[in-house]
Symmetry: C2
Subunit: 376 residues, 2 copies
């Protein structure tokens, strides 16, 4: 019988690890990149294409889905998998981050947050209990604890108070999740480490989370404007504070080079809107770094986006054609750029997995980063 949630680490190389998370809806090869499917769709991608480019799991946004089409409607329609026809695992965030960045916050207390929808001004609330209920209605496979997103930069005592509230909410999330026995028997719950840039707060947060106990642990509160150097400083100590035998998920990260650096520091899972969002506006990620296909120098360039990319977009279409499509605002441009970017990210992950398994992670990372940061 397929386990509810199992993490097998096949190989380690320094702090980096590669393995497989086994869940009822399918295996997740780690290190894993999760395409973001905000509103029950990875934008501009059919679910079959998301799978074809190699994604094992996608992310859904609780905040967006609770507002439109509504979590209860999705439950009546059989859950997010049946609704969107993505049959493999889905991780849902808790809604906490997006309610802060998108919603119109009307009240914030120990209980939770009240806010108005950015879509129609309607009033809603989110709390650990409500977030667990929504993620259950969606039929999420990996549920994220509801936490408070600490602003950046922030005073140390504010960061400490915010982290401690998040830890109280982590316990309420655990209880709320467990109260839905049927869903809890199939799904996993991840806790989220906070503490801003402070090592002692990150340690306190980790200990609080381990005391509660989760299936996996996220490093939260990074990629919030601190820059890569400071993020990597935190990643030098934060992942090692979390249980070695559980998956570690760096939320909202990032650029391909961020991901390589983070994997080398022991991170197993990632999500980011960058490949999808910036693809739609013309930014392509390649082994030689990002390029903007709108640039006039591509107008008669018959080469593919990335000669070393194995995706079907690079197998078929020229930079000149993609330049034309994006310049003309054609939907196919958004489709092809998104597909390439997501396929490129999956190839980056596959390359890391192979290098870790082969005991050559350090050399692989160095070569990747050197080429990636070169002029393009």
């Amino acid at each position: 019988m397929t386990p509810r949630f199992e993490f097998d680490i096949a190989a380690s190389d320094g702090a980096a690890r590669t393995g497989t998370i086994r869940m009822q809806r399918g295996d997740i090869r780690t290190p894993a990149f999760m395409p973001v499917g905000t509103a029950a769709t990875v934008k501009a991608m059919k679910p079959e294409t998301v799978r074809a480019i190699g994604a094992d799991i996608i992310l859904g946004n609780t905040y967006h889905l609770m507002l439109r089409p509504g979590d209860e409607r999705i439950a009546r329609l059989g859950g997010l998998h049946a609704f969107s026809r993505w049959t493999r695992p889905i991780l849902t965030d808790s809604g906490g981050f997006q309610v802060m960045s998108l919603g119109d916050l009307t009240e914030q207390s120990e209980e939770g947050v009240a806010f108005k929808s950015h879509l129609d001004g309607s009033r809603h609330m989110l709390s650990p209990e409500r977030s667990m209920e929504i993620q259950r209605n969606l039929g999420s496979d990996i549920v994220m604890a509801f936490d408070e997103c600490t602003a950046y930069p922030v005073e140390r005592d504010v960061a400490a108070a915010s982290m401690r509230r998040s830890m109280r909410w982590a316990r309420r999330s655990r209880e709320g999740f467990d109260s839905g026995a049927d869903h809890a028997g199939r799904a996993a719950l991840f806790g989220i480490q906070q503490g801003s840039m402070h090592e002692d707060l990150r340690r306190e947060s980790s200990e609080a989370l381990m005391e509660i106990g989760f299936d996996g642990y996220a490093v939260g509160g990074l990629a919030v404007g601190e820059g890569q150097a400071q993020m990597l400083e935190v990643l030098d100590f934060a992942p090692g504070m979390l249980p070695a035998d559980r998956p570690r998920y760096l939320m909202g990260v990032g650029k391909p080079d961020d991901i390589v650096h983070a994997v080398m520091r022991g991170i197993d899972m990632f999500d980011c809107v960058l490949p999808t969002r910036s693809g739609r506006t013309g930014q392509a990620f390649t082994h030689d770094g990002p390029l903007n296909i709108r640039n006039a120098r591509f107008k008669e360039d018959v080469e593919p986006l990335d000669a070393d990319c194995r995706c079907s977009v690079c197998g078929e279409f020229s930079r000149a054609y993609l330049h034309h499509l994006i310049r003309a605002g054609e939907i196919l441009g958004a489709m092809l750029m998104t597909e390439h970017n997501l396929a490129f990210y999956q190839q980056v992950m596959a390359g890391l997995r192979g290098a870790i398994a082969g005991g050559r992670a350090e050399a692989h990372a160095r070569a990747f980063l050197s080429r990636y940061s070169g002029a393009n």
Copy 2:
């Protein structure tokens, strides 16, 4: 060896015919519907999907392509097929219709038309010779003669003068096309019958075209606001004036019921932006008539768009999901609605072909139209 252009009529049933146009880039089963690929893309569709839903040929717009990315650039990039990766036949219009409807006309004379681009105000001209040159640069398989699009409604003498100018332009188009011997050895040229709603003008036009001689003949100047009843009145006599052994193409038509009526009157080829354009805004075509997926009654409807449609969208996705996607402005909504609509149109054509071949065209058309016009 594959012929340059051959039309085999396999069966006739009343005025309706079914057969195959054979060209070097592939066969075209008739009656045929050609998806419109305005700007070197059938909007929101990969070329592989356009083929998968059954299209044998697509249409490209000379006006759009000459302005962006430019026909000379496309020629340098190997032609429209290499550029867009659609390997089968492409029919290009002459640019005449769209320069009137989209361009800012600055001069109109016996020589041709001068206009400013709707994109950037740059100055251009179109004439029979220039239109042939552009379509040659694009590498078109079926080239349309350059004609003047007669307004509707219009005085009889204006319609007559316009038609006669179009016939002089048809001869110049023939000469311009033939002057490019290499391209003319691979491609076909169609003439366009004009004459507004007047039977005698349509006859005069047909005779002028046949005197010049073309590979196929289009019925032009319809679907310009006259309504279905008046269009069908013209189609009661116009197709029969054209050579029976050549394909007849009704330009810019139409709704599924228009197409069924026109096939019964001897039309072999169609193009229309309706399935693509209206798909993107939420209109789906079904055997039970059109439906607008934005309608609130679909918000929890788990049925497919059309239970009798064999397309992969209807095989996978619910009305509720498509309702959500279109309401949320998601690109995937435009992709799936477009795919369904184009697949539905191809199924309508396949149904007509089978019914004509089986000698039951009349009963088939009657049953289709009865169900299509029913309440949905």
